[in-house]
Symmetry: C2
Subunit: 430 residues, 2 copies
Amino acid sequence: MLRLNSRDPGFDKAFQRLVRDRRESDDDVARDVSLILEQVRNRGDAALAELTQRFDGHSLADDANWRIELADCREAYDNLNPELRAALELAAQRIRSYHEAQLPEDRDYTDAAGVRLGAKWRGVDAAGLYVPGGRAAYPSSLLMNAIPAKVAGVERLVVVTPTPKGKINPLVLAAAHIAGVDEIWRIGGAQAVGALAYGTQRIRPVDVVTGPGNAWVAEAKRQLYGVVGIDMVAGPSEILVIADGQNDPDWIAADLLSQAEHDPAAQSILITDDPLFADTVADRVGVELALLQTARVASESWNTHGVIIEVASLDEAPALANALAAEHVEIAVDDPQVLADAIRHAGSIFLGRMTPEAVGDYVAGPNHVLPTGRRARFASGLSVLDFMKRTSFIQLDESALHAIGPAAVALAEAEGLPAHARSVAVRLGQ
Amino acid sequence: MLRLNSRDPGFDKAFQRLVRDRRESDDDVARDVSLILEQVRNRGDAALAELTQRFDGHSLADDANWRIELADCREAYDNLNPELRAALELAAQRIRSYHEAQLPEDRDYTDAAGVRLGAKWRGVDAAGLYVPGGRAAYPSSLLMNAIPAKVAGVERLVVVTPTPKGKINPLVLAAAHIAGVDEIWRIGGAQAVGALAYGTQRIRPVDVVTGPGNAWVAEAKRQLYGVVGIDMVAGPSEILVIADGQNDPDWIAADLLSQAEHDPAAQSILITDDPLFADTVADRVGVELALLQTARVASESWNTHGVIIEVASLDEAPALANALAAEHVEIAVDDPQVLADAIRHAGSIFLGRMTPEAVGDYVAGPNHVLPTGRRARFASGLSVLDFMKRTSFIQLDESALHAIGPAAVALAEAEGLPAHARSVAVRLGQ
């Protein structure tokens, strides 16, 4: 864990280093991924079967091994313990209701020149959702990706998920049932993303691919951006907690660890104006780590990437937060709104002492797929818009064309595009 | 030009070939671009100066040669001939007014569980706009990119544009004046995109890069996607005209040529139910080509990529249009709305006989930066949203946390994330 103090002379330099530290593997996966994608594109299902055998130890030789049936999802849902089922249902209902209110409005109006203008939003025809296999198969991620797609009006929602050695996570199937997923394929890795984008003999292509994954999955999405729409380039998770000394140090320690347990490359940062509180939180992180089942991952993250920044006043925090542009920002003070208003760059903000980031991961309603690695400067969390597209339209009658057409002719001629000019001029009788 | 008839037995196969034909160079530019970006990242201005000398023949040895001053833009504007100035002003005003109405609304509400939820939209801090040099330096493109950025609230709008052998296009400067551009740098190519994304000694980095360019520029944007936001991966322009036999064949021929003159790789497609009309349009394209200043480009495009599809009934057109998902779709019939309602995938639709696509390029108001190469299946035209990002927020009090917190604890435990569970449970006194 790194300890910084904004009053120290070397602070600016150390903080800039922190801001620039990307924590993203620049591994040489690009070439591997590009070879895998080429194989899937050229050989389709045969390539999928080979790669799935090699990477997941799952055989696709039998036709029955390719898919998970919707009836299996229904069964997994029915077999869920009631408390968990209620929790998933509550999460789904709250996510659905938040995202329904995101649906954009169409426009259709005629302006003073008599020009009819507008835009119509529609869901994409088909979306593919990557769901990691094994331990990282989170039902909450499935809900956070699948529900916005369905709210957007996507008719065909396809899940791909690796089933290492054939193993399937029943919680994920139950979530797929709740979210209304239409197809599930037992494939993973870059090859699954390639299958979604290009299509194969068995799998029809989709228009948008979203969902979390390892470096290969992320790189496959990056390489296929433009062939399909993607949600975003995602890096390791991160939290910035801004807290005064009036917080229970145990609560804040737990918040810092809740990010750290995600990934050894995750980052938890605390900004506080109380040096004693900073010390206590650091101690409590150590104590809580000792009890934590996920201690191996969480301590590697905290030791390598954890930071506590001591500031003279919390008024300094928004500027630091804007430079970090963190995925999650918690503001644990009595009146969090003042600081929140000054934070321009953040994926999501958690206001007040009673809003641990983890409620946002599961049940609050807003999406937990958020921009990481300073991308909150320009990117937003996943929303229904990621599964929709807009078609604009224009309609002129003769009088409207006489009103604005001559300007188009003048500009087209000035740009050296005479056929553009002519297509307007002939209609004006010129 | 390819002639198809939907009644022919080979039609489906030929049409599928048309749909799959990407017309996008798979040139080996990726490696060149990646080397250029690495140079700019590592050596900044020195690399820019070398590359600008090499590719543009423009020396940056003198400090004064790096930028175009805003005063020069003002002067170019003042020196514009009055008709052209009025045309640019009309275009700017109509583009601004259409895009102002696109501004998204913030949300802030408290739901039945007592959870305060919402989202706040903000413009990015800085945006970079690529403006091609030479003949393709279109003032209309500058307006279409710069005005949405300014409407979105971008405070620092940076233009990069190559000035081959020092030559500057005054129309572009005048448009920059009208749009309120803040900085203009005389650099181009992949190196300019790299400078915008990474920043150099002279040029501060931006958050979003948009604007058209050649294959190197497009590839640089693709490679930097994630370091910055980008508008989209753009390919050659295309138009699909759906027309019955009641149109003036000269008008439709002009519309087809207005796309063709953009680029030898551009594509113009006509769908009509009138074989005689199809013949006449084909003839008129030939006649008009003979008179056209841009005949070299336009005839290469029309001969190589032009298509006329004869259908038994225009009712077949929407399905074909949806498969093509074209950038521009013109519907030249008496009642275009019926067909338009059935077209789900298109960048922009031009309704009726008096709406040539070219009015949309200049003065209608909606953006002329639109998805190409079938990307209208999932992508939208440029809008203020491309220059904005959304921060969600969540605020719970004790009672709200008691209402929804236990479900978060249950889900976190089921997902094997005990620190997540604990961050909620400690606040519930568990």
